[in-house]
Amino acid sequence: MKKTLIILLVFLCCASVQAQKVLLSQDVLQDTVVPKKGPNRKSFSHLYVGYGLIFGDEGNLKTKQPGTSDFRIGYRLKRKVSESFSFGGEVSYIKNSFRPKNNPAGIEKVKFIVNRAEAGLYLRLNYGKRGDKIGNFIDIGGSGGWIFKSALIQTDKKPVSTFINANTLQTKYTGLSFIEDLSYSGLIRIGFGRYVFYGEYRISDVIAPAYSRDDLPRITAGIQIGLH
């Protein structure tokens, strides 16, 4: 059996040495198939990441920078209607961090984290001639979703008392009952290829009105990068 295998292997090697070598092979008809998917074709989808700052004045709940920020990662779909008009939708994960200015408890660092899962719709107006490229555009739309996790994190580098000797005490409160469950916003984007400047106005409240008349800042402005 071993001998047979060796002979077969040698034969195959010889056969491959004898075989003619195809250096170029082109199927022209395959090349001419018009793709349906592409940045300026009938449909297109891509991932994106974004980072922005959140600002605004909401009464006593003032926040400070840096630290009051928006990070998001999402997946966007686009359907082309014409060279100038498209529409689409997206799903995204958004993490908002807020750093309150006022700290009555005297804790060194306090941070609110709000995690959102959202879906959105938008209308797009493209401008400028282009080939199969995203090009330059303006998007207007809205999104809504669920605040699925929130937390209040307090960090004290000079704890008054701890049950062990420690330089830092970090306390995390989760399941905050005063945080709303749902969120919804209006958005606008101006894009130049993969680089998009975005703005969002959060219409919904983060802090339930029953707990406070004031709320966290509503305006987000930042930059997204399309991963395409």
């Binding site: 040495v17 195809v22 250096l23 170029l24 092979s25 082109q26 090349d31 001639k129 080939g131």
Partner: protein, 515 residues
């Protein structure tokens, strides 16, 4: 004691006039005659042939005897002469060497034994491989045939449209153009001024591939042509206004008497879909066709998207009635990966021909290796200028179609090679017979091809080209196969009816109709 002082004084006096040894390098080897067959030993010729080293190489030409004589007159003696370095070694005083340095044909002089690394490095710093490449890029187009007939583009005016011509006003590769005032006009259509010797070195490299000379060696073929240089491209942006500038430059070239326009430029996915490559959609393609209608041969690079997502040629390479040039590997004469493919969206054959796409070109006041169909195009433009010099009565379409017919693959064609590399010999009475180089048999939906074993070289030159096309000429599939042995090669044609299979091997083409 006095005698010792006297001797010391004598020694000091003599040493101040002491002879030193110097290498004296000369600028050129003009007016020298060289016959390799009488100079080299038979075994030396065999070695060169075996190593693909050219027999006529600048470094083998003799040193100009007048130069040696002048230097000898000013020095004490000449101890050595070097062809390879175009230099002689002399013994002379410091004063004498200063006088020698001022001679018009002397490049530089350095003390022998203390040569700076750069003295030998700067002038001879291209490798043997680069020397071979520099030789090949024009030899493959028929440089020696053209030189034998003194065809060098003289009297032909070539417009070059590009992104800039940095240092082309100082690069030694264009000394001959500047000396004879053969850069007729320049214009920057972006800044609306005449200065173009800035912005980008792409145009400099392209210009050298049309008519540059490096140390007596051709970089391009049209070394005696006249030039119009136009800047139409931004270096770091791609606005649509570039196409408008192209049109302006083409009109300017027409007005200023251009016979040929070289455009190593192209626009693709940023602005167009592949369905737009019909020669009619883009402004610049229509302008290129108009230039052709006005009698200008437009030579355009096919593009470098062959290995990318776009794959196809760009605009204005899709224009009708222009010569679109693809790129080949310098030593295999086969399509190089990056060279864009045809055909056009309306199924016209492109590229028309191919030329070396990996070349040596003038850049940064020296010469360097570069690649792209940007350089295949000017090599072909220079070739076209030489042919136009021979046939001044030809209109540009006759010139274009003749260049196609001179292609090494003609009448075979495909959308990677067009009709192949043009041959100067075709225009100079080459009456090479199209003798069969293979036989074939069609049976049971299979074509069996058997190469003539007497011409098989068992290397990369044993290339069988074949395509399957419909009666209109539109190719459905095409292939290139290296016949690594004398075994028959089988082509399965069971899927094809009422089509034609064309085969080409080493200069012979045949066609088989499939019923």
């Amino acid at each position: 004691m006095r005698s010792w002082i006297f001797c010391l004084l004598i020694v000091i006096a003599v040493s101040s006039e002491a002879q030193q040894k110097y290498w004296v390098f000369f600028k050129d080897k003009t007016d020298t005659v060289f016959d390799p067959y009488s100079y080299f030993d038979k075994k030396a010729i065999e070695r060169r042939v075996r190593n693909n080293v050219p027999l006529y190489d600048y470094s083998d030409l003799p040193v100009n005897s007048n130069y040696i004589r002048h230097v000898e007159d000013l020095s004490d003696s000449v101890s050595a002469v070097s062809r390879w370095f175009n230099a002689s070694v002399v013994y002379c005083t410091d004063d004498a060497i200063e006088e020698i340095k001022r001679l018009p044909f002397v490049l530089k002089a350095e003390p022998a034994g203390k040569l700076k690394k750069s003295v030998l490095g700067d002038d001879d710093d291209i490798s043997a491989k680069s020397v071979r490449l520099l030789d090949y890029q024009t030899r493959v187009l028929g440089r020696e045939d053209l030189k034998a007939k003194d065809l060098n583009g003289k009297g032909v005016r070539i417009a070059v449209l590009d992104a800039g011509f940095s240092d082309a006003d100082e690069n030694p590769a264009f000394d001959h153009l500047r000396a004879a005032n053969r850069i007729i006009k320049t214009y920057d259509f972006i800044n609306n001024r005449e200065h173009v010797y800035d912005y980008a070195d792409h145009g400099t490299m392209v210009l050298s591939c049309i008519g540059g000379i490096y140390k007596g060696k051709n970089i391009g073929l049209a070394t005696e042509a006249e030039f119009l240089l136009a800047r139409t491209e931004y270096n770091y942006r791609e606005p649509y206004s570039e196409e408008e500038h192209w049109v302006e430059a083409a009109e300017w070239a027409d007005k200023n008497g251009a016979d040929i326009i070289n455009s190593s430029l192209g626009y693709t996915s940023d602005r167009y879909f592949q369905s737009d490559l019909d020669g009619k959609t883009s402004l610049v393609s229509r302008a290129a066709t108009m230039a052709a209608r006005k009698g200008i041969l437009v030579v355009n690079a096919a593009g470098n998207d062959g290995s990318g997502k776009w794959k196809k040629l760009g605009v204005p390479a899709d224009a009708d009635s222009i010569l679109t040039v693809g790129g080949v590997d310098p030593y295999k004469a086969m399509h190089v990966d990056f060279s864009s493919y045809g055909p056009t969206a309306d199924k016209r054959l492109k590229p028309n021909v191919v030329a070396p796409g990996i070349v040596m070109a003038a850049v940064n006041k020296k010469i360097g290796n570069t690649q792209g169909t940007s350089f295949a195009s000017p090599l072909t433009a220079g070739f076209a200028a030489c042919i136009l010099q021979l046939h001044k009565e030809w209109d540009c379409q006759k010139l274009l179609h003749s260049i196609e017919r001179s292609g090494r693959l003609y009448p075979y064609y495909d959308y990677a090679h067009g009709y192949g590399i043009p041959r100067a010999a075709y225009f100079l009475g080459d009456s090479a017979m199209n003798k069969p180089t293979f036989s074939f048999e069609l049976s049971n939906d299979q074509i069996t091809v058997k190469a003539d074993t007497s011409i098989l070289e068992k290397d990369e030159s044993d290339l069988l080209y074949y395509h399957i096309r419909e009666n209109s000429g539109y190719i459905h599939k095409y292939f290139v196969v290296q016949l690594t042995s004398s075994e028959p090669f089988n082509i399965d044609v069971s899927a094809y009816r009422n089509m034609t299979v064309a085969l080409h091997f080493k200069g012979y083409t045949t066609e088989i109709e499939l019923k």
